[in-house]
C-alpha cells in the first residue's frame, strides 16, 4: 500500500492550499483554498484532477479544513455548491462559526471589484450546513476505517492540525501553525504520534525570529507616533484573526497610555465578530481564558464602528479595514484617500500574496502605484510592516518535524528557494525523507502495514527464561602498578540479555504465528537433521631426549597421555569453554577430539601428509553451533607441538 499526495495548491507557493491524500484506499482533501493574487481560473485549485467525471462524492471520503483563512477555505463554497461535492466536511467549531463571515466579507468585496462572483450568499450558507464541527482531540470516526483528530495549531482562533489514520497508516496535515503563543492564542500542541507522513507549512522556512515583545513595541510606537502627530493609521486586515489580536494589543496600550484617539472597525469587521470570539474564548490562550467570568477580553471598550463619512474627517484615528493585503474593497478605497499624505501610516500585518497592493508596498518603497491603466495612486504615507506573524519560524518547523519524527515529510505553503533549503536541513539533520512538490504534482510514499501474529505457548515460555551469560573480565588494578607488579584481577560478570529466537510462520489463509524452534519439526512433520563437521588434524611431536623410545611407534605413548598433553595445551591457550578430559577423548562444548589410529581416515586431508612419522593425528568432530570455537581450537592445535 502507498500514500499518494496530489498537490492541488500551495505547492512551492503561498495561496489556495489544497492537498488530496489517498491513504490505504481513503481519499481525503485537506483544505480547499483560493489564491488571492489571481482573478481568473488559477484562483481555484484544479478540481478536475480529482475526478475527470466530476463525481467528487465517490472520489473523496471527506474534506477537512484547518482554519478559516481564505487561502484555506475560499474555494469550499465553489467546490460544494458549484462543483457539487456533497460528502462530509470537517472543521473545528470556531472555523465553522467564523468561516461564513470571512467568505461573506470576501464575496462582497469581489462584488465591488466588479468581478463575476463565483458563489453567492446562499452558496455559503448551504455549504456551511454540510460542515460537521469537531472539538480538539476528539477522535472522529469518519467511517469504519478512517479516524481523524484535530490538534491545537495556534495560528488563528480555531486553527487545527489534523491527524488521519487508516488501518496502520497515519499522517498529519498541519495547516498553518504557530509554535509560540501570542497575545490571544496558545502555541500549537500535538501528541507524539507514529506517522508515515507529515505535511507541514513552510511560510518562514529559513527565518528565525526572536522574541515578539520587542516587535510588538515597535508596532505600538509607530502607531502612537503617527496618531500623536495627528495622522491616520490604516490597518488593512481580513475580518477575523489579526484584527482581534492587534485590537487586544492596542486596547491594552490605549488603557496604559490613557489615549483617547478613536479606534474604528470598518463595516466588514463588525463588532459582531467579537460576539463569536466571546463564545469561543475556550480556544484562546490560557491567560485570556481565565478572565472570562469577570471581563471578557473581547469586550473592546475603545472600539467603534466606522462610517464612510469619517474617511476625510479631521483628527487622528486608527482604522481596521477589510480586506487584508489591500486586494480591493473598502481598504483600497481608504488607502487611495490616505496614501498621498505623509502624516498617515499604513500598517501591513503579516504576509501579503504576490500580485496584491500590499505586496507591492512591502517590496521596496514605491512612490506611485498603478491601480489600472487609468488610475495611479501617489504613495507618500509611511509604511510599517508588522514583523510578528502567526506562522511558525524555521526553528518551530524543525522542532515539530523532530518531535513527530515521521517517516516522510512534505513541505507546502512556502516559497520555492527557501523550501529547498529547509528540505535539505530536514534530510541532513533529521534524516527524514522530505519533498516539496509543485502544484498538480503527485508524491507517492510507502505506507505502513502491521501484521498481527499469535505467539505459541512454548515461545512465550522461552521468552521468560533467563538467559544468563557469565563472563570474566580481567582488569588491571591500578593500585598495584606502582609496586611494579601488575596483578590481574578477574571479575565475574553476569548478563541477562533476553534476545529470544523464534520462527515466524505465515501460512496461507491463517493468522501469522511466532513459534519456538523446537516446535517447527512437529508443525511441519519433519525429522531433525544435524550437521556435524569432522576434521582429522596432524600435530607435530616435540623431539625430546627419550627420542629412542618414541622412534619406534606411536603406540609407545598411550592415547590418554596424548590427550592429557593436548588438554594442557588447550587450557593454556583457550580462554573460553570448559575442557573435559574423558580419558580417550577431549570435549569442549560439542567439540570432541580423539587420537586417530586409522591410516585412511576419511576426514584426513591428503595435503596435510608431511613428515608423517613425527605427527600424531587427532580426529575432531563438532556440530555447526560451535563452529567458531572449533576453528579456534584447530588453529591452536595447528600452531603448537605436543
Amino acid at each position: 500500500m502507498a500514500i499518494d499526495c496530489l498537490v492541488l495548491g500551495a505547492g512551492q507557493e503561498v495561496g489556495k492550499s489544497c492537498m488530496v491524500v489517498s491513504i490505504n484506499g481513503k481519499r481525503i482533501m485537506f483544505d480547499c483554498g483560493m489564491h488571492m493574487g489571481y482573478t481568473d481560473s488559477r484562483r481555484y485549485p484544479d478540481f478536475s484532477l480529482i475526478s475527470k467525471t466530476g463525481d467528487f462524492d465517490n472520489a473523496l471520503t471527506c474534506v477537512i479544513v484547518t482554519h478559516f483563512h481564505l487561502d484555506h477555505i475560499g474555494a469550499l463554497p465553489y467546490f460544494t455548491e458549484v462543483c457539487g461535492y456533497k460528502g462530509p466536511i470537517y472543521m473545528t467549531y470556531p472555523t465553522k462559526a467564523l468561516a461564513p463571515l470571512m467568505l461573506e466579507d470576501y464575496r462582497k468585496n469581489m462584488d465591488r471589484r466588479g468581478e463575476d462572483e463565483q458563489f453567492t450568499s446562499d452558496h455559503i450558507a448551504e455549504c456551511m450546513k454540510k460542515v460537521i464541527p469537531v472539538d480538539l482531540k476528539q477522535t472522529v470516526q469518519v467511517d469504519k476505517d478512517l479516524q481523524i483528530r484535530a490538534y491545537y495549531a495556534g495560528h488563528v482562533i480555531g486553527a487545527a492540525m489534523f491527524y488521519a489514520k487508516v488501518g496502520d497508516a497515519a499522517m498529519v496535515y498541519t495547516g498553518d501553525y504557530n509554535m509560540t503563543p501570542d497575545r490571544h492564542l496558545g502555541a500549537a500542541q500535538i501528541d507524539r504520534l507514529q506517522l508515515d507522513l507529515l505535511i507541514t507549512e513552510s511560510t518562514y522556512a529559513t527565518t528565525i525570529r526572536d522574541s515578539r515583545y520587542g516587535r510588538e513595541r515597535e508596532f505600538l510606537k509607530a502607531v502612537h507616533n503617527c496618531v500623536a502627530a495627528g495622522g491616520k493609521v490604516l490597518i488593512p486586515t481580513f475580518a477575523l484573526g489579526r484584527a482581534q489580536e492587534l485590537c487586544i494589543l492596542l486596547e491594552d496600550y490605549w488603557e496604559r497610555m490613557n489615549l483617547k484617539v478613536p479606534i474604528y472597525f470598518s463595516a466588514g469587521l463588525t463588532i459582531q465578530a467579537n460576539m463569536y470570539y466571546k463564545m469561543l474564548i475556550n480556544w484562546t490562550s490560557q491567560k485570556i481564558k481565565e478572565t472570562y467570568a469577570t471581563h471578557n477580553a473581547f469586550d473592546f471598550k475603545n472600539v467603534r464602528n466606522f462610517d464612510r463619512s469619517l474617511i476625510n474627517a479631521p483628527g487622528p484615528c486608527v482604522l481596521f479595514a477589510t480586506p487584508g493585503m489591500i486586494v480591493g474593497g473598502f481598504s483600497l478605497e481608504v488607502f487611495m484617500q490616505w496614501a498621498p499624505s505623509e502624516n498617515n501610516l499604513v500598517t501591513l500585518p503579516g504576509y501579503c500574496v504576490a500580485g496584491t497592493i500590499g505586496h507591492k508596498l512591502m517590496s521596496g518603497k514605491p512612490t506611485k502605484i498603478d491601480l489600472d491603466k487609468d488610475t495611479q495612486i501617489n504613495v507618500r504615507c509611511q509604511i510599517h510592516q508588522l514583523s510578528f506573524s502567526p506562522h511558525t519560524d524555521a526553528k518551530g518547523i524543525m522542532d515539530l518535524v523532530k518531535f513527530l519524527s515521521p517517516k516522510h515529510a512534505i513541505l507546502v505553503h512556502g516559497e520555492k528557494p527557501k523550501m529547498a533549503t529547509l528540505k535539505e536541513r530536514i534530510q541532513s539533520e533529521l534524516g527524514i525523507q522530505c519533498y516539496c512538490p509543485a502544484n498538480n504534482e503527485t508524491v507517492t510514499i510507502p505506507s505502513t502495514h502491521y501484521v498481527k501474529a499469535d505467539a505459541s505457548g512454548t515461545f512465550i515460555r522461552s521468552c521468560l527464561n533467563p538467559n544468563f551469560k557469565f563472563s570474566t573480565h580481567s582488569s588491571t588494578d591500578k593500585s598495584y602498578l606502582d609496586s611494579n607488579k601488575s596483578k590481574a584481577v578477574s571479575r565475574l560478570s553476569v548478563s541477562d540479555d533476553r534476545a529470544t529466537e523464534g520462527i515466524l510462520v505465515v501460512e496461507k489463509g491463517k493468522k501469522a504465528k511466532v513459534i519456538h524452534q523446537d516446535e517447527i519439526l512437529h508443525m511441519l512433520g519433519e525429522k531433525k537433521h544435524e550437521i556435524q563437521f569432522a576434521y582429522c588434524i596432524p600435530m607435530p611431536m616435540a623431539r625430546t631426549e627419550d627420542l629412542s623410545s618414541t622412534s619406534h611407534m606411536l603406540c609407545g605413548f598411550d592415547k590418554s597421555t596424548l590427550i592429557s598433553r593436548l588438554s594442557m595445551i588447550l587450557s593454556d591457550e583457550l580462554s573460553e569453554g570448559n575442557i573435559l578430559d574423558l580419558g580417550e577423548e577431549l570435549q569442549v562444548e560439542s567439540f570432541r577430539v580423539s587420537v586417530c589410529s586409522s591410516d585412511n581416515c576419511p576426514h584426513r586431508l591428503s595435503s596435510s601428509l608431511q613428515n608423517g612419522s613425527e605427527s600424531v593425528f587427532f580426529c575432531c568432530n563438532w556440530s555447526v553451533a560451535d563452529e567458531k570455537l572449533a576453528w579456534k581450537i584447530i588453529s591452536i592445535m595447528k600452531n603448537s607441538t605436543l
Binding site: 467549531y93 465553522k96 462559526a97 461564513p100 456551511m128 464541527p133 472539538d135 480538539l136 482531540k137 476528539q138 477522535t139 472522529v140 459582531q272 460576539m275 463569536y276 466571546k278 463564545m279 469561543l280 474564548i281 475556550n282 472570562y292 467570568a293 471578557n296
Partner: protein, 532 residues
C-alpha cells in the same frame, strides 16, 4: 473482571457508584454525595428561637420516646455532616488506580478521597463536568460556612447525635437516614471538606473532551461519550487488552440543552454495564437480585438484520424532550399565576440545564405580559456559572450550537442580564440585592435540600404567604424537607424531570449496541467473570 456495586444511588443528585476491576486495575466509577440525607439536620435557626431550642432540645426529645408525628424540633441541631457512599470508606483509596467521573454530581464526594494519604489514582472527568462540579463544590462549602459560623468552632459535643444515646432519641424516620436499617451506614458520615481540599482535588483531575482517547498505563484506552443528561455528563468506554467495556450512566437521548446521548459511540463493546437506575426504580419494582442476561441469544437472528438506522431514528424521536419542554411551560404558567396574584416564586432547583431553560421560558412569558417582575439568581457561584455556560458550545445540543454559528449567545440569559431583567447576586445579604429588591419576584437559589443556602431564609420569609409559590423537584421525602417551615400557607409545586433512559427505550438501545453481555447489579453484590 470483577464488578461491585457500592451504591445504586438515588436519582439525579446521587448517581450510582461502582467499583470495577479489569486487567488488574481497580476503577472507581463516580464518587457522589448523598445530599438528601441533609434533611435530618435543622436549617440555620432564627437567632431568637435558636437559644431556647438548643437548651431544651435534649430534654424535649427524651420525653418523646413514644413515637408521634415528626416536627421541626426533632431535627438534629448541629453543624451538618455529609453522607458519602456507604461502603466506599471500607476500601483503601490508595489501591484505586483510576477514577471515572460521569457527571458533576458524581464529583461531589471526590475531595474526601483525594485528601487521603497515599492517594494516587488517575482521575478522568470531562472538561465541562469538572468545571461545573468544582463550582458546585465551592458553592456547597460557602453555604456550609453559614452554618459553621452559627454553631461556632467544633467541639466534642457536636457529635452527640451520632453517639448511641443520640441516635436512640432520634425518631425512627431520621434514624433510618442517619444509620441505615442496621446501623451500617454510620461510618459514611463525614465533616465537609474545605475550599483547599476542593482546589487540591481539582488539581489532581485530568480533564477530557468527548471522544478524546486517554491511555492509562499503556493498557487501557478510556473514552468519554456524551450521555445527554446534563452539560458535560458522559458514559465511558474502557478498551482493555482482552475486552471492551461500556459503562452507561443515566442518559437522555434528546436533550434540551446538553449534547445528545451519543449511543453510537458505545457500539462494538463486548460488555455493557448498565447503570441507569433512574426509571427502573420508579416504575416496576425491579427484582432485587443480580441480572446477568445474554441479550444476543434472547434476540432472534433475523432481528439482527433490523436496520440500525431505523432503531437509531426511533430512539432519537424527541417526544421526551417535547414532554420536558411542556413541563417547563407548565411550571412557568404556575409561576406566572402566582406573581400575577402578588406572590413571589421561589425555585430551589439545582439542575443547571433545567434552570437555564426555565430562565429563558420564564422571562419570555413575563416579557409577553405587561408585568414587570424581576428575576433574581442568588448564589455565590451564579455569575461564573452563567458566564461559563455561554462559552461551551462544544458541549451543547445541536440547536444551541446553531446559535453559535449564527452569532447569537448560546443561552438567552446573557441578553437578559444585560437588559437587567435577570439580576445575579452572590448572597442574600449583598448590598446590591437589598437596594434592588422588589416584590413580587422570581428567585432561583440553592440548595434543593432546603437546609443550606439562601433558600432557607427566603422560604422562612414567604412560607406563610398563600400567594407565593415554591417549586420543588419531587424527591424522596418532600414532607421531611419542608418540616422546619411548617405550618406552610405557601403553595408548593412538585415536579419531576426526566433523568434517564425511559424503560421502553432500553430494549431498542441494547439491540442497537449488540453487546455480548449485559450487566446490571444491585447494591452490595459482586459479579466476577474469570473469562474477562
Amino acid at each position: 473482571m470483577k464488578f461491585t456495586c457500592l451504591s445504586k444511588g438515588g436519582g439525579f443528585h446521587f448517581p450510582p457508584c461502582h467499583m470495577l476491576s479489569v486487567s488488574g486495575f481497580r476503577i472507581l466509577l463516580d464518587c457522589p454525595l448523598d445530599l438528601s440525607s441533609l434533611a435530618i439536620f435543622s436549617p440555620v435557626p432564627i437567632a431568637l428561637e435558636a437559644h431556647e431550642s438548643l437548651e431544651t432540645d435534649s430534654v424535649v426529645r427524651k420525653k418523646q420516646k413514644i413515637e408521634k408525628t415528626l416536627d421541626a424540633n426533632d431535627l438534629v441541631c448541629a453543624e451538618p455532616w455529609y453522607k458519602t457512599v456507604k461502603s466506599l470508606h471500607l476500601w483503601d483509596a490508595s489501591f484505586i488506580d483510576v477514577i471515572l467521573i460521569s457527571s458533576p454530581t458524581g464529583l461531589l464526594g471526590l475531595p474526601f478521597l483525594t485528601r487521603t494519604k497515599d492517594f494516587s489514582s488517575k482521575i478522568y472527568v470531562t472538561e465541562a463536568a469538572a468545571r461545573i462540579g468544582q463550582l458546585m463544590m465551592e458553592d456547597l462549602v460557602s453555604m456550609h460556612m453559614e452554618l459553621r459560623q452559627f454553631y461556632g468552632p467544633e467541639d466534642s459535643s457536636f457529635l452527640q447525635w451520632m453517639r448511641w444515646e443520640g441516635l436512640e432519641v432520634l425518631p425512627s424516620e431520621l434514624k433510618k437516614i442517619a444509620s441505615g436499617t442496621d446501623c451500617e451506614e454510620l461510618g459514611a458520615w463525614m465533616p465537609l471538606y474545605s475550599a483547599v481540599d476542593v482546589k487540591d482535588c481539582m488539581r489532581k483531575v485530568q480533564t477530557l473532551k468527548y471522544a478524546e482517547e486517554a491511555c492509562y498505563n499503556g493498557t487501557l484506552v478510556i473514552k468519554a461519550f456524551s450521555s445527554g443528561l446534563e452539560i458535560g455528563t458522559c458514559n465511558w468506554t474502557i478498551n482493555g487488552p482482552k475486552r471492551n467495556i461500556a459503562y452507561i450512566s443515566s442518559s437522555i437521548f434528546v436533550s434540551t440543552h446538553a449534547m445528545d446521548f451519543n449511543f453510537l459511540g458505545l457500539q462494538g463493546n463486548d460488555l455493557i454495564i448498565f447503570s441507569d437506575f433512574s426509571t427502573l426504580d420508579t416504575t416496576e419494582n425491579m427484582e432485587n437480585d443480580n441480572t446477568y442476561c445474554d441479550p444476543v441469544t434472547s434476540s432472534n437472528a433475523s432481528d439482527d438484520l433490523y436496520n440500525l438506522e431505523e432503531i437509531a431514528a426511533s430512539l432519537l424521536k424527541d417526544d421526551e424532550s417535547m414532554e420536558e419542554m411542556e413541563k417547563l411551560a407548565f411550571i412557568c404558567t404556575c409561576a406566572f399565576d402566582s406573581v400575577r396574584a402578588g406572590g413571589s416564586v421561589l425555585v430551589p432547583i439545582d439542575r443547571l440545564g433545567i434552570v437555564l431553560c426555565l430562565l429563558e421560558q420564564m422571562s419570555l412569558l413575563l416579557e409577553s405580559s405587561s408585568l414587570k417582575v424581576p428575576i433574581y439568581i442568588i448564589s455565590s457561584v451564579a455569575e461564573e456559572l452563567l458566564a461559563f455556560t455561554n462559552i461551551i458550545p462544544e458541549w451543547l445540543c445541536k440547536q444551541r450550537q446553531e446559535k453559535l454559528f449564527s452569532g447569537e449567545p448560546l443561552f438567552a440569559h446573557v441578553k437578559l442580564i444585560k437588559e437587567r431583567k435577570i439580576h445575579v447576586f452572590p448572597a442574600v445579604h449583598s448590598v446590591e440585592l437589598l437596594t434592588n429588591w422588589q416584590e413580587p419576584c422570581v428567585v432561583f437559589c440553592p440548595h434543593w435540600s432546603l437546609r443550606l443556602g439562601p433558600v432557607v431564609h427566603l422560604l422562612r420569609y414567604w412560607c406563610s404567604d398563600p400567594n407565593s409559590l415554591l417549586i420543588l423537584e419531587s424527591g424522596d421525602d418532600a414532607n421531611l424537607a419542608l418540616l422546619p417551615f411548617k405550618p406552610m400557607a405557601m403553595k408548593v409545586l412538585q415536579c419531576s424531570f426526566l433523568s434517564g433512559i425511559s424503560l421502553q427505550k432500553v430494549q431498542p438501545l441494547l439491540k442497537a449496541l449488540q453487546p455480548k453481555l449485559l450487566l446490571t447489579v444491585s447494591e452490595g453484590f459482586e459479579v466476577q467473570d474469570p473469562n474477562f
